[in-house]
């Protein structure tokens, strides 16, 4: 274990609408590990991911990145982290390529058009790179959002229900992406109701809420 490079939570507690979703939560993800968050609807999976990336503040406890609270050195943490939420942060008026270009510029990445094209092809969007997103289906739009994974240098991926609306082929591609990321020493935290089997690496799962 390398305690200085991973994501850890210390006694994390979260409350929504006056109801405690979880408390005393201690989780950790280190390079080469993935964490599958499971739980019933409303058990706090999305809330936990939002706490991890810092979009929401915990009721109690801390989120640590490289041993430091993520609120310190926030910029460094944000550069190392990629969050994909329910909302895909895509503009229907822009093409897939333009959306990726904007996402890259926003997170301060260098823009390599060939790499972006390749990422889109990998997600099975060959021939649709320049179409405005409004003519694509829900699943295809999710594929565009997921193409960001292949472009980002982030070490930590926080993915909220990444398998929703994907067909079996795309699910396979996504699993492969996650697999490769983990085996290269990356970290993935994701929520999913599906059973997800990553073939190699240290893959854990955590179930939120009491059964």
């Amino acid at each position: 274990m390398q305690p200085h490079t991973g994501l850890e939570t210390r006694d994390l507690a979260c409350e929504r609408g006056g109801k405690t979703l979880f408390e005393g939560l201690n989780l950790s993800v280190f390079p080469g590990q993935s964490l599958h968050l499971q739980g019933d609807n409303g058990s706090g999976k999305t809330s936990l991911l939002r706490l991890l990336c810092g979009l929401a503040l915990p009721l109690a406890g801390q989120v640590l990145w490289a041993g430091q609270p993520t609120t310190h050195e926030r910029e460094g943490f944000l550069r190392d982290m990629l969050y994909l939420g329910h909302a895909l942060a895509l503009k229907e008026g822009l093409s897939a390529l333009e959306n990726l270009h904007f996402a890259a510029a926003l997170s301060g990445q260098a823009w390599v058009p060939d790499a972006a094209l390749q990422a889109l092809h990998q997600m099975g969007l060959r021939g649709r790179e320049h179409l405005p997103l409004q003519v694509l289906s829900q699943g295809q739009m999710r594929r565009v959002a997921l193409a960001r994974l292949g472009l980002s240098p982030a070490r930590l991926w926080l993915l909220d229900e990444p398998f929703v609306a994907l067909d079996t082929a795309a699910c396979g591609v996504l699993q492969e992406l996650m697999q490769n990321h983990v085996s290269r020493g990356g970290m993935v935290v994701f929520t999913s109701h599906q059973a997800v089997h990553l073939a190699s690496g240290d893959n854990r799962s955590h179930r939120l809420g009491r059964a």
């Binding site: 979009l55 942060a89 008026g93 333009e98 926003l106």
Partner: protein
């Protein structure tokens, strides 16, 4: 800085591909300004007297029209979350949003105002001062309006609340903007009014992005 430019470029590109929103603002301004001379009658002295007030009120209401959509689309599709997590200070990104809003909904009004001023028989000097006062004044409207838009983000019926919030704050801009043209007509010179407008612009330009960023953080939590 590149995040700033690409955000500005993206907003302009989106507006170019779906121009209805911008056209609504421009159309509203033109219609208001064009209907007044018809309703008031062809008396030149009356028209000259009315012109600054009518054109400024028209511009103010027109720029209010597009305000509540300033952050709404980005909020709905999750872009705002990504902006918060981008590592670029949100205050700077808000500057780009406000700048894009002004280029789309403020600048066309500045360019159209001298043309519409002709309908009111304004002199060449007065047309110049009118355009100048709008050039300084409309960015103030965008800055102040953005705070209201950020505060009312995600509220139902936010549009009405937004108008109630920002209209009182628009009043000084209106008074000194229209006053600049009137002062010129009265032979007093418009420098004082324009200087005060400029001061308002500096103040709101400094304060507004920061206030918007704070309000957006609260809205997203």
């Amino acid at each position: 800085m590149s995040a700033l430019w690409s955000l500005l470029r993206r907003d302009l590109l989106l507006a170019l591909r779906r121009p209805s929103e911008v056209l609504t603002v421009v159309f509203f301004f033109v219609v208001v300004a064009a209907l007044f001379p018809l309703a008031v009658g062809p008396e030149r002295a009356t028209l000259r007297m009315l012109a600054p007030g009518v054109l400024w009120v028209g511009a103010l209401l027109a720029s209010l029209l597009a305000l509540n959509r300033l952050f709404e689309a980005d909020h709905r599709d999750g872009t705002l979350e990504q902006m918060l997590l981008s590592g670029t200070p949100l205050t700077l990104l808000v500057v780009a949003k406000i700048a894009a809003h002004w280029v789309l909904c403020g600048l066309p009004l500045v360019l159209l105002a001298p043309l519409l001023g002709v309908l009111f028989d304004l002199s060449g000097d007065a047309l110049g001062v009118l355009a100048l006062s709008l050039l300084i004044g409309t960015p103030v409207l965008s800055c102040i309006g953005a705070i209201g838009a950020a505060l009312t983000l995600g509220l139902r019926g936010g549009g009405v609340l937004l108008a109630l919030l920002v209209l009182p704050l628009f009043v000084p801009v209106l008074v000194f903007g229209a006053g600049a043209v009137e002062a010129l007509a009265a032979g007093l010179g418009s420098e004082a009014h324009l200087s005060i407008l400029m001061a308002l612009l500096l103040l709101s330009g400094l304060f507004s992005p920061w206030a918007c960023a704070q309000a957006l953080r609260i809205a997203l939590e």
